[in-house]
Point group: C2
Chain length 314, copies 2
């Protein structure tokens, strides 16, 4: 009998869930609108009532959930600005009660790191960091083969490390956070905020509401301002990763998400900038990898990985 884990990725807009086996095969996947539900209980109950999930219930050994600000230690979601419910949500307790099965939760970026280690491009690594370049910049830190949760469950907030003094205003209320430069939102901001002589003549700027994907598309076509933005983004990221190496000395940073998909050229530039700024003892040791789960549902796989991964240290 095949053991399956239900992996759930709760996002501000969509909640995606699927059934995953021990080698990371995804058997079923479905997406629902998070805000459609009045309470978290309703959302979890609706997933359980999905006929495909009910059909496989006998094979389920647990539920792993990745959610914004999901806390592994308390099993709750706290202060998640993108979710429709703002109180503390006892997600683990709710889910265990609905399914009568063990549940583990963490934030989406941590789940992505576990997914990469169990099923993705970091299966050979025990020390690495995943950098998720989506709307924001998320990070999941693996040290000696275990996820770093920190004393409160919230470790690995690399997107909110400030890289420019008095820099761009961040949604967190501070200034100069890495994610205001390096994320889909950050790249889009650069269209307006990066001053350059090429800006006024760029076809990119003429688009109505250009986004980060447009930047990479126009850079591919040779638009000088778009190329400048790509270079600037790679520089900001590579420069930051050089400093971040001083924390856990990872063997690799694994990039994931829309911006990471920008291509080989972006990856090469990030690596160059990182090496140029690297402390001597770390030079030529740290790889930049691109996630191999890009086309798969990494968040669902990562959430499921929590159940399959035997935690030794926590």
């Amino acid at each position: 009998m095949k053991n399956l884990v239900l992996g759930i990725d709760i996002g501000g807009t969509n909640t995606v869930y699927g059934l995953v086996d021990v080698i990371g095969e995804l058997y079923y996947e479905h997406s629902i609108k998070t805000k459609y539900f009045e309470t978290m209980s309703d959302l979890i109950q609706s997933i359980k009532n999905d006929p495909e999930i009910l059909n496989q219930y006998q094979h389920l050994i647990g539920i792993g959930i990745g959610a914004p600000n999901g806390n592994h230690f308390t099993g709750t979601i706290e202060h998640a600005p993108n979710l429709p419910w703002h109180d503390t949500i006892h997600l683990q307790a709710i889910t265990e009660s609905v399914f009568n099965l063990p549940c583990k939760i963490t934030n989406d970026a941590n789940a992505a790191a576990l997914g990469e280690m169990l099923f993705g491009n970091a299966q050979d690594l025990k020390d690495f960091v995943t950098i998720t370049l989506g709307t924001g910049l998320g990070s999941g830190v693996i040290v000696h083969g275990e996820l770093v949760y920190g004393h409160d469950g919230f470790a690995g907030e690399y997107g909110h490390i400030r890289v420019v003094a008095d820099g761009r205003i961040c949604g967190c209320g501070r200034k100069g956070c890495l994610e205001t430069y390096v994320s889909a939102t950050g790249v889009t901001r650069s269209i307006k905020e990066l001053s350059s002589p090429n800006q006024s003549t760029s076809a990119l700027v003429q688009l109505s509401n250009p986004n980060s994907k447009d930047v990479f598309d126009y850079a591919d076509k040779g638009d000088p301002f778009a190329i400048e933005i790509v270079d600037y983004t790679a520089k900001m990221l590579g420069n930051a990763l050089a400093d971040f190496t001083c924390f856990s000395s990872p063997k690799a940073f694994v990039l994931f998400g829309g911006v990471a998909n920008a291509g080989k050229d972006f990856q090469t530039k990030v690596k160059q900038q990182m090496e140029q700024n690297m402390l001597t003892i770390f030079k030529d040791k740290v790889e930049i990898r691109i996630s191999s789960l890009q086309d798969k549902n990494a968040a669902v796989l990562g959430a499921a990985a929590m159940i399959f991964h035997t935690k030794k240290s926590v």
Copy 2:
């Protein structure tokens, strides 16, 4: 029969060693000049020939060594600019051969963190970071009760995280590293490099070769420029610790070394600056502690702690 560990702290100027028991009592301590010896073998042999060490040899269960750039994984010292021997030194192999006992090595900052956890002011913590404020700024990172070594043994180089773009030139060849501001050397540099209207009238500046201790002494006496330097140092450190919290979410930063001894006022200012710059989810959670091993030989205790601490994850 009492089990003892020989703890050795190898520094550029002095090498200090002592006999330590399982509760951190130091039975014997001695200091020798590192540069007096032609080879590392000579130095280790000399320690073994110390009559006090020979007398206790039967009680020894191992040797722990903290050394600049000491690598836990390879057992070697690599690229240590302050030591008289510049090739790769096979310190663990040399020591095991001389003593015929197991030896473990790491760098001095990592050893200090283990010492704090086993014998010092972090015995109640599983997630913390020690910041050693000596000539440079060293750090040792504990995550889930284990030292973070990283993929190559060199994790925890917080002193070389850059905090000012294009800032002070650092011995590492880069600019703006935290230790160029926050360390005994950094504080001394501020006497010349911190521009202030109070500088020209400060009695501190009139001293021939004033050092960091002078800065703290003059600040205590009310010298406005010295107070400004203390505030500036606390600001740079507190500000950086706010960002460093985003790595491992430690329960505390434990400060150690001469600058940390500057008093309650310095500690309070560091805490204030950290809180002012902290990401909301970490606010009012992270403590600033001062090492309780300040008056003891923390480096020797820390080196010995490596042997007493059962490593689970490496």
